[in-house]
Amino acid sequence: MSTPIDLTGVDRETALRLYRQVVRLRRFEDKVYQLFLKGELPGTVHQYQGQEAVAVGVCEALAADDWITSTHRPHGHAIAKGVSMRAAMAELYGKATGCCGGKGGSMHLGDPDVGMVPAIAIVAGGVSVVSGMGLAFKLQKSGQVAACFFGEGATNEGAFHEGLNFSAVQKLPIVYVCENNLYGASTAYHLTTLVPEVTERVKAYGIPAISVDGMDPVAVRAAMQQAREHAASGHGPMLIEAKTYRFAGHSRGDARKYRGREEEDTWKELDPITRMRDAILARDPADEQAITQIDAEIETELDDAVEFARQSPLPDATLAFTDVYADPFPIPSVVGERS
């Protein structure tokens, strides 16, 4: 059995908000999965079910003008940071009303207006970018912090090591959030990595690290508050290793043959939604009603988002030729073939 979530020091409003957020992320992904199977969504999707506590806990502890970078698995990060379900869903549909105008899609979800760099699906790509962002915040003395999400698999890319070394020596206001879900696609971390504790590995860079239960939004939030405070007050970057698990396959059509069903069941007992609900009700059974209401509101929000996405127009094909350059630029092949 899993340890119950500890709500000590968490007020009712915050607890309910955390609950709402994890459910929003989960229900969004469940809906996306259905729509994907129905053939309504193009391309592929990397889903976030199981890991919601990480995005929710981290984003709850960030200020509105803090930034995040994200990965090939960005849906949860986007919604937790404030991209609306409408804008996220429309983007997944490839519609002009999406958060990237239909030019990004699942793997590039994001929106500078909410402080999210359009997701970078090259594994560890965000780790390089976040150094620059952190350097800018430091130079501007803006007090902002950048949180960088990545999976444990990213820690074997060269970019990861270059990025951590630089931000450490520069004492940049960055929080690295490693979502250790044990597998990079089909490959278990311990098969490619002798020291599978990420917190151990980053000691080499002089970066302090905390390991946290990544299935518990309250714990993640607390760790992130501590890390953010550390980073924002000029002490340099910090790393959080959130031990978590993705309930879904890596991407579409992953039969998950590389891991046992027993292992999956063990992790499902740690489902952040059930645990959050149990903790809230254990404290006050009367909150049952509030929870039911939250659940219903989320269904309405979700249905509205899907309807919005369906009704939205596709981007015009000529939009493939816009936004390639910021200043006027005659695109050669277009000038050639089209004129």
Partner: protein, 327 residues
């Protein structure tokens, strides 16, 4: 003859090469237990063992570097880059080490290694799962570049790539992975004759226009040739992009007097530019019309709802054919 998909044909070709030489080893992300994202290496770890088919960390630069070391010590590594654009983290290793080691060592070091990667669009993926990076590699002296267009050419070219003493970039047109075709499993490298992978193949003879393509576009061009009304298109599959089999191209264009070059990659400084220049230099006086290119546009690969508009299709090939026939 056996009917199979291109993915299967590459798998069979890998098997033949691995059976023939125990120094052939495979290294790449998710290629062992999973058999690769496109299942090209399906079953090979089970059959040849974990020492010959190894799952790699997420570290493309490291994967290529490791292959260099293996090749220097007598192995013939075949690495897989999961999608073409994930090769960019390894670009430095490929351009600065792989391509130059032989020259730098005055010929004493050989790097017989194959860098396999799926490339091209058409599967509804996004930019870095849909690109056509061949020109970068063709431009880099010291590398060879091969790309099959159908199961038969895949079966042979992968074996040829592994047999080659030079490093080979092996580009697999991902949207053709599931295309079925006849494969003669008994054809061996020794008796391929005109099928020699470093030569272009005339896929369909014709008298009016030479249509020069490779990889995913070969099928599109064959369909265009079928659909073309009153014009006989000669469709050439280059197969080898470096070296280029210009002899076959020149011979064809001298006969037809017209050339259309088709590729998915963006136009500017793409392979079509080089081929057009070569045709101009070598067959200028045989030309009846300016050479035409049908290519992707000079923009980043678009999101999936727009890719149909980006990819050269039958209509765009036929429009270019009309244009060379007008002149």
């Amino acid at each position: 003859m056996t009917t199979m998909t291109m993915a299967r044909a590459i798998n069979e070709g890998l098997r033949v090469a691995m059976d023939a030489d125990s120094k052939v080893v495979l290294f790449g992300q998710d290629i062992g237990r999973l058999g690769g994202v496109f299942r090209v290496t399906d079953g090979l770890q089970k059959d040849f063992g974990e020492h010959r088919v190894m799952d790699a960390p997420l570290a493309e630069s490291g994967i290529v570097g490791t292959a260099i070391g293996l090749a220097m010590r007598g192995y013939r590594p075949v690495i897989e880059i999961q999608f073409e654009a994930f090769v960019y983290p390894a670009f430095d290793q490929i351009v600065s080490q792989v391509a130059k080691m032989h020259r730098r060592s005055a010929g004493t070091v050989r790097l017989p290694m194959v860098m396999r990667m799926p490339y091209g669009g058409g599967i509804g993926a996004v930019e870095h799962h849909s690109e056509s990076p061949e020109a970068y590699f063709v431009h880099t002296a010291g590398l060879r570049v091969l790309t099959p267009s159908d199961p038969q050419s895949a079966y042979l070219t992968i074996q040829q790539a592994i047999a080659c003493e030079d490093p080979v970039i092996y580009l697999e047109p991902k949207r053709r992975y599931w295309d079925k075709g006849e494969v003669d499993l008994d054809t061996t490298l020794g008796n391929t004759g005109l099928l020699s992978p470093w030569r272009a193949r005339i896929m369909r003879p014709g008298t009016d226009v030479s249509v020069i393509a490779y990889g995913p576009m070969v099928r599109t061009c064959l369909e265009a040739a079928e659909a073309a009304d009153g014009v006989a298109l000669e469709v050439i599959d280059l197969q080898s992009l470096s070296p280029l089999d210009l002899a076959t191209v020149v011979e064809s264009v001298e006969r037809t007097g017209r050339a259309v070059i088709v590729h998915e990659a963006s136009r500017t400084a793409g392979l079509g530019a080089e081929i057009a220049a070569q045709i101009a230099e070598r067959c200028f006086y045989s030309l009846e019309a300016p050479v035409q290119r049908v290519t992707g546009y000079d923009v980043p690969y678009p999101a999936s709802r727009l890719e149909e508009d980006f990819l050269p299709d039958l209509d765009r090939v036929l429009t270019a054919v009309d244009r060379v026939m007008e002149d």
